[in-house]
Amino acid sequence: MTLARFIFCEWLKLKRSKIVLFSAVSVCTTPFMLFIEALQTHFEHPEQSFTLADIYSNGLLYGMLLINMMIYVAITAYLFSREYTQRTLKTILPIPISRSSFLTSKFLVQFIWIMILMGITWMGIFLLFGLYHIMIGLDGFQITIAFVWLIKMLLGGIFMFITLSPFAYLSLKSKGIVVPVIVSAVIVMGNAALSNQDLGALYPWTGTYFIMMKKTLSTNYPIWLSLTIIILIAMIGFICTYTYFKKEDLK
């Protein structure tokens, strides 16, 4: 009950926040990029054919490794650091509220937000390629296929949520949005470099995508190793975040 109330409070805090609209618009970049790429391919190489499943597969790649990744880091940093930048903790903590529940409500809102944004990306692809299907025609444009990919994208969102926990810690530790965003740029560069390498299976942020797309099987690394690394990174992130926040003196 308390947690539900805290989650409601977290949503209340987002009223008039520009980042809500900004994040929703930003995740539409993936569908637009795919749409433009598809149009370009159609006019330059009309002999090449692709299906809705191919589009969603590319959408998952862009989403999990590049665009959505950076947006999710930004919203994570915003959610966790705003209490410091707006100096609200000294108003809220003496109410009194449990620091753990407060943090858990933030993680849950972050999770819901990521799921919504994944849903928007999925819907964006479906609508834009529905238009493409009407104008040009697209193989395999079926709602059942789209729903299969919705589940995959939401699973991808869950993986992304757990591997974002170190960014929550960085946001608390640095008390701002700058450090996590810079680190995310580095991580995304790593994603870009490793997305076609076997080593990508051991890099937590590409490892999740490899598992989703069953690419780990084609690398030299066992899936359990990839999963262990992902879970380890997530655990370290969560443990550090909770430990730091619970022990921290508010200066």
């Binding site: 109330r5 409601f8 409070c9 209340l12 008039r16 926040s17 903790l89 108003t91 003196d249």
Partner: protein
């Protein structure tokens, strides 16, 4: 009288500095306790410890005569330094949010608190558009809107204009007398709290160096003779030859002699007979500001 807050050897130390040093604070129920100290004296840290925002290094404290429990904090209202609220929300929404965290729903209480601090008309403006004074008033509204029994206010009049300061002072006195609230208020300006506080605690370099009822403090105000002369240094040296044990304070155009008001005629005659013109001789009472600065030994900038 029951103490609502009692601290026992409460300390907070960081690797290179001790911010709060073995403080024994006693705040009686139904009184206004003024915590006075210069900037960096440890007032805010002490208040943060009481609100469990900072963990003490050693010592402990009691709230409402018991070891602090979660329930006690529901009966406390607080404002620490500048108020912290969500920039994108209005005053009402910010207080509504705090009420949600408390698990309450009472719009009337929010309205009354906003009316008390004269912010009830600001229905559209978000916190980021507030002036410094408005922000401070919202901070006070947030501290009192759930009608606490104990208020902990850290420099609550920061950023307020003189009329605002006077209104907040009156409000605090009213809350204490009519609603039987106990108030711990800090300030670095004595004049801000000497008119409302029942007890003053003076903190310096983290140590509580005096805890004294205001009536007793006023009795300590010393009388002195103030001589306005052309060359105060020379006049004072002359009197010191005559009476070397004099307690004095030398100023630019005058000097003060303490503890000898019955001998004003003697010193006046001595100076005049030795051709030192006395332009003015007054018997005055030392103000509390001087007492305070003497106590903390401070002429350095705080």
């Amino acid at each position: 009288m029951t103490n609502l807050i009692e601290t026992y050897q409460l300390s907070k130390a960081y690797p290179h500095t001790t911010v709060v040093d073995r403080v024994n604070l006693h705040i009686p129920q139904g009184k206004i306790y003024g915590l006075l100290g210069r900037n960096g004296a440890g007032k805010t840290t002490l208040m943060k410890i009481l609100l469990q925002l900072v963990k003490p290094t050693s010592g402990h404290f009691n709230l409402f005569n018991e070891t602090p429990k979660k329930e006690h904090y529901r009966r406390i209202g607080s404002l620490i330094e500048s108020p912290g609220f969500y920039d994108n929300l209005t005053a009402y929404e910010n207080l509504h949010l705090l009420q949600c965290y408390q698990g309450n729903q009472d719009n009337q209480k929010i309205y009354e608190a906003l009316k008390t601090v004269n912010l009830h008309h600001e229905t559209k403006k978000v916190f980021s558009d507030y002036s410094l004074g408005m922000k401070q008033r919202l901070g006070i509204a947030a501290a009192i809107f759930h009608q606490p029994q104990l208020l902990i206010l850290d420099e609550p009049t920061n950023g307020l204009d003189p009329i605002g300061i006077s209104q907040i002072r009156s409000l605090l006195v009213k809350l204490c007398h009519e609603n039987k609230m106990t108030i711990l208020i800090s300030s670095h300006i004595l004049s801000e709290i000497e008119h409302i506080a029942d007890i003053i605690g003076i903190i310096h370099h983290g140590r509580l160096i005096e805890e004294i009822p205001i009536d007793e403090l006023k009795q300590k105000q010393r009388c002195y003779l103030s001589f306005d002369v052309n060359n105060p240094q020379h006049a004072l040296e002359f009197l010191l030859q005559y009476e070397p044990t004099l307690h004095y304070r030398l100023e630019a155009q005058s000097f003060k002699l303490y503890g000898c008001k019955q001998r004003s005629d003697v010193y006046n005659r001595l100076l005049i007979e030795n051709h030192i013109a006395v332009h003015q001789l007054r018997i005055e009472k030392e103000d509390l500001e001087n007492y305070f600065s003497d106590l903390i030994g401070g002429n350095d900038i705080g």
